[in-house]
């Protein structure tokens, strides 16, 4: 396994040798910020293309195939179009909140983006409550959605925002509890710590039954949390035209759009972290040769491929199932997922206490 922290430390030392500490830290912060933004934008573009191709395959279509080879430049063209579009300001909206909302959404998704375990030694923020921080910042997003719905001064957006509020607050619980189950198993909240704990075997295997239950619940709640079908009620186009972002145009709409795709990546990334070892290659105890070979695959690739495979499953949901109704959605959470989750947490604790895991 290449430890990329050697490179990052080397850069840090190099900078320190020619400039004072505060300047070095500032330069590093800016560089990382720019790099994150770039990765963020590129991933979003990739996801737009990926979803369109996957959905086309489900629907016996070809998907984008005109702009560039295999339509690869389609999402760049879309983004460019979005950038040059006029941002329309409407009459009778709350100007300040209306403009603020998309930024809240995108800031929330960017902050959680930065906690993800990108690779061995490629941890941007690594502190002892990493996963807690992630859950905390990702909840800011719902504020943006509520504000967007409220400030637009439109009945459809308001209903969309109310639905979204009810949905996200409810499903936050499930996410929190299933994350808590896995944190209990790992014994740490630090992202690096969780990954390191899966050195021998991924949690989904070592934690067996409770881990699998937690994974299924996490996947359902994560889909709901990202407002994707079959839980896309806040923007149910056949009911509410576009829900909370009906009145947005140009890049403001683009922010919601980007954040939605990136949230998909973040939810998948966290699932990869908690259940499939983050950037950790597939290791099977006893199979030394196999483990060695797996280590040759770069850790960054491991993480991104895991996240994309999980995203594929979530996209698969969206293009197969019809949408739920708001009361059914809340019933599912409060009457089924929450009790199962609590029970599962107890089960996990028993497994840990009696050492019944692998």
């Amino acid at each position: 396994m290449y430890d990329l922290s050697i490179i990052t430390n080397w850069i840090h030392e190099l900078l320190l040798s020619v400039m004072p500490g505060w300047l070095a830290t500032t330069i590093e912060c800016v560089a990382i910020g720019v790099a994150l933004l770039l990765v963020y934008a590129l991933l979003a573009l990739f996801y737009i293309y990926f979803e369109r191709k996957v959905c086309a395959a489900f629907q016996c279509r070809l998907g984008p195939n005109r702009v560039g080879p295999l339509g690869l430049l389609q999402s760049f063209a879309d983004m460019f179009k979005m950038l040059i579009k006029e941002i329309i300001t409407l009459k009778n909206v709350d100007r300040f909140l209306f403009a603020l909302a998309p930024y809240l959404v995108i800031i929330a998704s960017m902050l959680s983006f930065s906690v993800l375990p990108w690779g061995n030694g490629l941890q941007i923020i690594d502190f002892n409550i990493g996963i807690f921080f992630l859950i905390a910042v990702s909840s800011i997003g719902v504020l943006g959605i509520l504000l967007a719905g409220w400030s637009s001064n439109n009945k459809f957006t308001l209903i969309g925002a109310l639905r979204s509020g009810a949905q996200m607050v409810s499903y936050e619980l499930s996410i929190g509890l299933s994350v808590l189950t896995m944190v209990a198993f790992a014994g740490t909240m630090s992202v690096t710590g969780i990954v390191e704990a899966q050195k021998d075997l991924w949690f989904i295997f070592s934690g067996h039954i409770p881990a699998i239950i937690a994974f299924v619940i996490y996947l359902v709640a994560g889909t709901a949390e990202t407002n994707r079908g079959p839980f896309d009620l806040p923007e149910a186009e056949s009911e509410l035209t576009a829900g909370y972002h009906t009145e947005y145009s140009g890049m403001h709409f683009g922010f919601f759009y980007l954040a939605e795709y990136l949230n998909l990546f973040i939810v998948s990334g966290v699932a990869a972290l908690l259940f499939f070892g983050g950037w950790m290659p597939l290791h099977i105890p006893g199979w030394e040769g196999f483990n060695e070979i797996m280590d040759y695959i770069p850790s960054v690739l491991w993480f991104i491929i895991k996240a994309i495979v999980i995203s594929f499953v979530i996209i698969w949901f969206k293009w197969t199932f019809p949408r739920l109704r708001i009361d059914q959605l809340l019933n599912l959470e409060w009457k089924y997922l929450l009790p199962i989750n609590l029970f599962n947490l107890v089960l996990m604790v028993l497994v840990i206490v009696y050492g019944l895991h692998f």
Partner: protein
């Protein structure tokens, strides 16, 4: 027939009768409400289905022809009520006897200015509220100065009017508010993905729960009935594709049968078989599209493509024979426009081969899905009695247990000799309406299978006179369209164009019943229910 006449004559000595294809009863307005009650409630008559109300202007007097049908005995009767008053014509309403009458009477008021006493909702139905004049009156001034193209927003009113009669016979105009002041009214439509066209539901909601819906239509009203009065008979046929654009073949069929009946033309067996084949192919295509768009409304976009795949195949067959994919214009007086394409039989057999596989896939992917079951079952229940009273025909009516298939109740063309089942479910919910359409696709395939191997030889169109003039008289013909019973009423004075051509589409009752069956459900259920009724807006507006 004579039996019915005796019964009515005994109760209502002032009634006079006109014989014809359907018995017509003349009754003065004062007795009309009593007669209506008698016709519906008498056990031997049982005329519980009001097919349509045809407003008429006979120049010397105004009036209405009510087309009634008995769901028990499958008999039909017409009732004619007239008033000689031209300034302020008034007729008593029957909206308390047949619920659909409320809306039918609004339509008559809109076009003829006849006020219905005791109707709770006397607004215009299709035209804008500031429209001057009543367009279907014979003395209507069509000059554009009267109704210039508006440059301002249309005026809206949140009240409706009712003309109430007290014991002394004085009629008083009352104003009624549509919504309460505290109602939160959401405008669903006219531009909305789920209304399937430009139709507007003003929806009063309490949170997500629907309290009341005010249905507002007329955005694409083209006045087809008025236009037809100025056209020759063959020309009127071309409008039939432009109402319910999926039932173009059926509507052509209805009007052709009515004209052929009037002219006494006997068409060849080949033409009849071709018409029936086209009808059933169109029915499969229409139900496919229903299922696809319905699933899309519910968020399952992928199904749309699986159903369009079959529909595409049917449209290709149609295109080869009719030369069009949407407005076919295939039926004509005496038969059909062109002969079948040489590959027709081969193409249809290919379709029949893939259809069962596809239907199986629809059932597995959507009907069997647990989310779909949760969204559809026990949503928008329409009872048997309400289905009849609101005149909800077609698959939606049959899902409520009402066996209303015109192909079975009043067989036309060669349907009497074909072997197929009328699918009837009793649940009356959205799921039943959806499943029923899938079952009907199978039945249509069964009809096509019977006919495709023995299309008789013969001429596809018999010789008809160059100038077609119908004899003096009136004719009414119903066919089973994709969405329900479609009726045409023709009245002729012997000239080359009709005096009155009334089209009774199935979709107006369908859209009208939405308010009744959505109350208490969620906003998302409005989409489910509206979608399962499957109305087509150009068919409502005409």
């Amino acid at each position: 027939m004579a039996n019915i006449q005796d019964k009515i004559a005994k109760q209502f000595p002032e009634a006079t009768f006109e014989d014809g294809e359907i018995l017509l009863v003349n009754i003065p307005d004062a007795k009309w409400h009593d007669l209506a009650k008698f016709l519906k409630e008498d056990a031997d008559l049982h005329f519980d289905h009001l097919i349509t109300i045809i407003g008429m202007d006979w120049v010397d007097k105004f009036g209405c022809v009510y087309q009634l049908s008995s769901t028990k005995y499958n008999t039909q009767i017409s009732v004619k009520v007239a008033t000689e008053e031209r300034e302020n014509p008034m007729i008593h309403s029957v909206s308390d006897i047949w619920k659909i009458a409320t809306t039918f009477e609004r339509e008559v008021y809109d076009f003829f200015g006849i006020i219905f006493i005791n109707n709770p909702d006397m607004r215009r139905l299709f035209l804008s509220i500031d429209w001057k004049g009543y367009p279907l009156r014979k003395d209507y001034d069509m000059s554009p100065e009267n109704n210039p193209v508006p440059t301002e927003n249309e005026r809206q009113e949140d009240v409706t009017y009712s003309y109430v009669e007290d014991e002394n016979g004085n009629v008083e105009k009352k104003t009624i508010a549509i919504f309460q002041p505290e109602d939160y009214v959401v405008n669903i439509g006219p531009q909305h993905p789920a209304t399937h066209g430009v139709l507007r539901f003003r929806t009063a909601v309490d949170g997500e729960t629907i309290k009341k819906i005010d249905f507002y239509s007329g955005y694409i009203h083209r006045g087809i009935e008025k236009l037809c009065e100025g056209l020759t008979y063959p020309q009127t046929l071309h409008f039939m594709d432009r109402m319910d654009y999926f039932s173009g073949h059926h509507y052509h069929h209805a009007l052709c049968i009515a004209y052929e009946k009037a002219l006494g033309i006997e068409i060849s067996r080949r033409a009849q078989v071709i018409r029936v084949l086209m009808d059933e192919l169109a029915r499969i295509a229409s139900h496919c599209l229903f299922l696809g768009t319905y699933c899309m409304d519910l968020g399952a976009t992928t199904m749309l493509f699986y159903t369009l795949r079959v529909r595409e195949q049917i449209l290709d067959i149609m295109e080869r024979t009719c030369g069009a994919r949407m407005t076919f214009n295939y039926g004509c007086i005496g038969g059909v426009m062109q002969d079948l394409h040489e590959d027709f039989v081969k193409d249809v057999k290919e379709l029949l081969a893939v259809l069962p596989k596809n239907i199986k896939e629809y059932n597995e992917l959507f009907i069997g899905n647990v989310i779909a079951k949760g969204r559809l079952e026990n949503i928008g229940n329409l009872s048997f009695e309400d289905a009849i009273s609101y005149g909800v025909t077609g698959p939606s009516g049959r899902a409520s247990g009402w066996a209303c298939d015109v192909r079975k109740t009043h067989p036309y063309s060669i349907y009497g000799g074909l072997d197929f089942d009328e699918v009837v479910y009793t649940e009356g919910d959205s799921m039943a309406r959806t499943k029923l359409r899938i079952a009907e696709m199978e039945q249509s395939a069964k009809i096509i299978e019977q006919l495709i191997d023995n299309i008789p030889d013969g001429e596809y169109c018999v010789k008809v006179p160059k100038v077609i003039k119908l004899p003096v008289g009136r004719w009414f013909q119903m066919v089973e369209g994709c969405r329900g019973a479609f009726g045409v009423y023709i009245e002729s004075d012997g000239g080359a164009s009709p005096v009155r051509l009334k089209l009774a589409p199935p979709c107006l009752p369908l859209a009208n019943v939405v308010d009744h069956i959505t109350q208490g459900y969620k906003i998302a259920d409005l989409i489910t229910i509206g979608g399962s009724l499957d109305y087509i807006v150009p068919d409502i507006d005409r």
